[in-house]
């Protein structure tokens, strides 16, 4: 199941997460933490698609938008509860992920990249054009999870819960037989075929499962931020997610969280005096990381510190 250090980490994060609102007084930092939750959900789910299954999907954030818009529109126009929206957003993203996954079975490598990118661009185009439904470039205002006093705290706790849940699921998947199938698709799909692994199924599964969780991330964003707009599915956003996963360490268990934490919290900290530079610095970090330290933070840690680590199998 899960290694001992992962369970400890989970517990540790739960405790810290619960303590944080007690000590942090500033609403700006509370919002930042929730943005961190949003990106964590995206990076952990992207790690499953790219890190575990080896599919360099370029439309991951588009699934986030699909989930977000689905949830927001249903909540606003059909009066659906935002909590149900989380579920439905994830489901919508997952279903579309299955369909797209079936399409991309035929393609590999950079063709996969291009097709997913094409899909992402079409989604972007649709969101901006069908403004009567989606609100166009201006976006769509969505209802919050909670109303009244304490609403912000509850929304925060919901986010914390989602992240911990996703982390646990990803860790479990990592150590399970299913995870092994995904890794085999990533590492040597032909060998896996000959060993009897139904690679077609697992390829679609990896893609759709990750995309479904991206949908949940999007739905969470919609209701906590109060607004979904097409920019969340843009290339910049995809870049950020990619960057976070790379900096943290692709295919590892802690990598996505670390990458997201590093980028989000650091951007907030340097916002004051170097805000315009932040994305530049991060892009540079990504380039340098890939050039010199391919494994990201996790590799740095592994080399610096002795002992067992939750890392990508060599």
């Amino acid at each position: 199941m899960m290694k001992r250090h992962e369970i400890t980490a989970l517990a540790g994060m739960l405790v810290l997460g619960l303590l944080a609102p007690v000590f942090i007084d500033s609403p700006v930092w509370m919002t930042t933490l929730q943005i961190f939750f949003y990106y964590s959900l995206l990076t952990i789910s992207y790690n499953i698609v790219f890190g575990y299954t080896g599919l360099f999907s370029f439309c991951h954030v588009s699934f986030g938008a699909i989930g977000g818009y689905t949830s927001a529109i249903l909540a606003e126009k059909a009066g659906l509860s935002p909590f149900l929206g989380l579920l439905l957003g994830g489901l919508a993203a997952g279903l579309i992920g299955i369909v797209l996954g079936l399409f991309i079975l035929r393609v590999r490598g950079f063709y996969l990249c291009l097709v997913t990118w094409a899909f992402g661009m079409v989604v972007d185009n649709v969101l901006k054009t069908e403004h009567k439904i989606t609100g166009g470039t201006g976006g769509f205002i969505s209802p919050s999870f909670f109303e009244g006093p304490g609403a912000d705290l509850y929304t925060y706790l919901l986010g914390l819960g989602l992240v911990l849940l996703m982390f646990a699921v990803a860790a479990l998947l990592y150590h399970s037989r299913w995870g092994l199938y995904l890794f085999s698709v990533r590492d040597d799909i032909d060998a896996a075929e000959t060993m009897g692994v139904v690679t077609r199924f697992w390829k679609v599964f990896g893609f759709a499962f990750g995309s479904a969780w991206a949908g949940v991330a999007g739905a969470y964003y919609a209701h906590f931020f109060g607004l979904v707009d097409p920019s969340i599915a843009g290339l910049d956003e995809m870049g950020k997610v990619c960057l976070m996963v790379v900096i943290g360490g692709i295919g590892t268990i802690y990598g996505p969280l670390m990458g997201a934490f590093f980028v989000v919290i650091l951007s907030e900290m340097i916002r004051g005096w170097a805000a315009e530079f932040s994305l530049l610095i991060f892009a540079l970090a990504m380039i340098l990381t890939v050039r010199f330290v391919r494994g990201g933070f996790m590799e740095i840690l592994r080399t610096l510190l002795p002992g067992p680590r939750g890392g990508r199998p060599a």
């Binding site: 035929r106 291009l114 097709v115 661009m121 290339l235 870049g239 530079f277 994305l279 991060f282 380039i287």
Partner: protein, 288 residues
């Protein structure tokens, strides 16, 4: 109306072809995918703009200037960041270039925003006159864009087929080890090819700048169009890319008018997806 659409589509299609060919060069010689291709288009546009406004160069000098500067930039990028894929043993060169060039995309965009400012710029119109072609009125800039693109493509085709270097590149594209054995220095050809590809993108950007205006984010759609041309035309044939570019340009213009103007950009993407899924070698390509 139909004729007008076709002519406009052709003019812009030639510019698309120019961009696509640059990418094809990169892929053939270096076997890489490049997400930053659109950024070189953007940089080329800015270089032309500044050549004209700061150095007061006329447009027929500004465009080559932009190309030359970007050539060296592209070469530098190759030498520093992309050369590991032929020298070292990188586990997954595909992943490496995907992430690297993506990082470059972000990096160049942010750098451009900081250096050039987050504002829209427009160089003065290259040819202020209007032209009438087959009864359709086209702006001078548009005509120039089409002509210059065609010219550069033609020059490139001559280069590829007549010079030693061009032959070396074709050799590398067909068989990397084969070319090596024949004495081709892959490392050196790589940076030259990369520089050339970037120069081509820069030319496209420079030529189109007065029509579409410049901003740091202007590189997005051209990147997409380049890949669309590649997917439709296939790898390995310059003429094929020209045809593909024109097909794309005309399809977009016709589709925008007869189907929906709002979904114009989606047309290219759908075409690309169709080709990638059902005919990955494109219309004129060799192997996949």
């Amino acid at each position: 109306m139909f004729l007008e659409l076709v002519i406009r589509g052709t003019a812009i299609g030639l510019v698309y072809a120019l961009m696509g060919i640059g990418l094809m060069l990169l892929h053939g010689v270096m076997r890489i995918i490049n997400f930053a291709h659109g950024e070189f288009y953007m940089i080329g546009g800015y270089m032309a703009y500044y050549s004209m406004t700061l150095l007061n160069l006329p447009f027929y000098l500004a465009i080559p200037a932009a190309m030359i500067i970007t050539f060296f930039l592209g070469a530098l990028v190759e030498k520093l960041l992309l050369s590991p894929i032929h020298t070292k043993k990188i586990e997954k060169p595909m992943d490496y270039t995907l992430i690297m060039t993506f990082g470059l995309l972000l990096f160049f965009r942010q750098l451009a925003t900081l250096v050039f400012g987050p504002f829209f710029r427009k160089p003065p119109d290259y040819l202020p006159a209007d032209f009438h072609i087959l009864g359709v009125k086209l702006s001078g800039s548009m005509v120039l864009a089409g002509l210059v693109s065609a010219l550069i493509v033609f020059a490139l085709a001559v280069f590829i087929h007549r010079t030693w270097r061009g032959r070396a590149w074709r050799a590398i594209t067909q068989s990397n080890p084969g070319a090596r054995i024949s004495g081709v220095d892959i490392g050196r050809e790589s940076w030259i090819a990369c520089g050339t590809a970037c120069a081509l993108a820069a030319a496209a950007g420079a030529v189109v700048a007065p029509i579409f205006t410049l901003s740091p984010h202007v590189g997005g759609p051209p990147l997409a169009k380049s890949y669309e041309v590649l997917a439709i035309g296939g790898l390995g044939s310059i003429a094929g890319s020209v045809v593909a570019g024109v097909i794309l340009g005309v399809a977009e213009t016709l589709g925008a008018f007869y189907i929906s103007s709002a979904y114009r950009d989606a047309i290219g993407f759908v075409l690309m997806a169709i080709f990638l899924l059902f005919r990955p070698q494109g219309l004129f390509g060799q192997k996949v």
